[in-house]
Symmetry: C2
Subunit: 396 residues, 2 copies
């Protein structure tokens, strides 16, 4: 529903680069051309100093806020935090979100046409990294005429992109907000990614990735991969609260192999739903990019990656029940950032919602993000904290 706190109707835009020259990836492979799907909300100010880049997670898209049509029943994926008066306040900031390389929401990836063959890339699409995703975003930011972002923010895989920006392009951002994330994908995270990929490989309709012109897609495998994911986004406690051992539409056990418990029904619904909106090959590419992510390379320490990143202001957030990216990952980040004398605010937020908390704890996140951004905005623009506790800048 479009309200006064909504950015309203928005349109996805497309930026194409590397049409003549090619875009070189970390693997050494090249792509040409590259298109990024992106959306923007709010207005870029005159000195181009109010831009915030939002980075999405595994299955996200450029559509972070607002609606594509008046009758859309669902807003963008982080609409709770992006809009007039919200945490990423579009009355003040120019918010940008682009779909990552390798995904399937309009950015170049395995579903898009390979100019060499005239057919979808499929597995001929090169393996991309978080670094490649970020370098593509830099091309977009250049295209938009922005020298320095006010902030880069994101959770989960979005947080990895934030850290990549901070570690390798520190002069391009003032502040970084990595949420529920890690500086290095752990073996447990790799294992969970791999199980999802194995479920896709095991689906005969996957056809080694060459299924785009076939009547059947590897939906069954992709659904299983998504179900594994959904379990990891929740927590033991949140599942106890949300589902318990309640049965779905029945009073007693059926003693048959059918969906009986509410939690089974939830997983199956979400697994199937996912196959209507996401591509199996993209799932492979995006999870692989996460598995490769390791900011302890090449120096051997996390701190080594941030030696030139001390001028950025950091807000690091973890959630107590997030067992996918447990608090110790964020603490390692904070230790590394502190070691290079960066300005770090760290919060481990008490929440039962597991990894999903970064999207679900709206009130806490709004307060936290707003106050962090407010402080920086005022520092950057000259201003003071009023008697009401709020920071203000004269005339802004």
């Amino acid at each position: 529903m479009i309200t006064t706190s909504s950015v309203g109707i928005v349109h996805t835009q497309y930026f194409t680069f590397a049409e003549k020259e090619s875009f070189r990836l970390e693997s050494g492979a090249v792509l040409s051309p590259v298109t990024l799907a992106y959306e923007t909300y709010g207005t870029l100010n005159e000195d181009r100093s109010n831009a915030i880049l939002i980075c999405h997670a595994l299955s996200g898209s450029a559509h972070a806020a607002g609606f594509h049509a008046p009758d859309d029943d669902k807003a963008g994926w982080w609409d709770d935090c992006i809009g007039p008066g919200k945490a990423f306040d579009t009355d003040r900031y120019f918010v940008i979100c682009s779909n990552v390389l390798g995904s399937c929401y309009g950015t170049t990836g395995p579903t898009e046409t390979n100019p060499v063959t005239g057919k979808p890339y499929g597995l001929q699409f090169p393996v991309v990294t978080i670094g490649d995703m970020v370098r593509a975003q830099i091309r977009l930011i250049d295209h938009l005429g922005i020298d320095q972002l006010f902030c880069v923010a994101g959770g989960s895989m979005g947080g990895m992109q934030v850290l990549e920006w901070a570690a390798h392009y520190p002069q391009r951002l003032k502040a970084a907000i990595p949420l529920a994330t890690t500086g290095r994908h752990s073996p447990m995270l790799i294992a969970l990614s791999e199980v999802g990929r194995q479920a896709i490989y095991a689906d005969p309709n996957w056809q080694s990735g060459d299924y785009y012109d076939k009547p059947q897609k590897p939906d069954a495998g992709l659904a299983v991969a998504r179900m594994v994911g959904h379990i990891t986004y929740l927590s033991d406690e949140s599942m106890n609260l949300k589902f318990g051992r309640r049965l779905q539409d029945r009073e007693k056990f059926g003693f048959q192999f059918q969906t009986e418990f509410q939690v089974e029904s939830y997983l199956k619904y979400n697994g199937n739903n996912f196959t209507r909106r996401f591509d199996a090959n993209s799932y492979l590419y995006v999870t692989k990019a996460m598995d490769y992510f390791d900011l302890t390379e090449p120096t051997g320490t996390l701190a080594g990656s941030f030696v030139h990143s001390a001028d950025i202001k950091y807000l690091v957030v973890s959630f107590t029940s997030d067992w996918l990216y447990p608090t110790y990952h964020s603490k390692e980040l904070v230790t590394a950032l502190t070691a290079v004398n960066a300005d770090v605010t760290f919060l481990d937020i008490e929440s039962t919602w597991g990894h999903d908390a970064f999207l679900l704890e709206v009130e806490t996140m709004t307060e936290l993000l707003s106050s962090f951004l407010d402080r920086l905005w005022v520092e950057a623009n000259g201003g003071r904290r009023g008697a009401n506790g709020k920071w203000s800048v004269a005339g802004k």
Copy 2:
């Protein structure tokens, strides 16, 4: 390798019942006949008071100790704890282990012949419960002429059977040792079971369970199910220690979709290996039995199930890094057992090994199990604790 602490060469035996009358299941369905595969180690004493029943977990079998042939390279699944001088000391105890109903190691289950059709049951096999498994074990114990077991012990799904024995047949056992288990399968556990089942359903070779005479079995689906399982048996910490981000047989990323990390290689190996030793339909039946397990039924509380079970001595054990059956499950059990004034020893053992710890923490488990059993043995047989701290019974 057969050593002096091994029970040596053992043979699986078979006990068939319900040949004329039928065996009624909790679902109301009936089975006839029912065969249980079982093994025994040690000697039943004259007054038949030294029998210990070991209950196995999801993928276990009756082969808990010793070797089937001199050149076997692998001993029974709990050989570390069963044998002369071991925790379940076969110089003193008569140890029994039987394969559960619905499994595929010789006990009646979906792989066995349905006498009505002359073909394997497949999905015509009725859904069984932990209660059904235990009532089949009772028939075996009756057949062996044992009125009261000295102890029933097991971890994970084995622990559920232990609790079922204690709750519903308290006069049939002196002691109960439920390890790394729960009195009620949680929604997270159900979710993980269901993902495994969905992986099997998604395999076209599953053929609604009717694959026994087909050239292909649903190996791909079963392997994925097992990979999910393996992740849950470990812990974040144990995976960091065991695998880290090390690559398997390579120095650098290959930027292709192949097994690269050691943890991926481990999962794939174990997933594939499992398909050579386990049946996909049995995986469905056994996981479903666990999902149905809930000792808060029908009274609404765990304590309600144990009101007649206060004379049993309990040793409840959990492990700090077990996120599949976290410590709070065991604490709930202890609270319930304490509420009915039972004699309970509870230990939450510090371990990095996750759920697998109950099989891997051999030294700790040996000490713990031995001292618990020693005390009971001495109490039961008259004896005293010597100056060396060990319990002894004159002439035993």
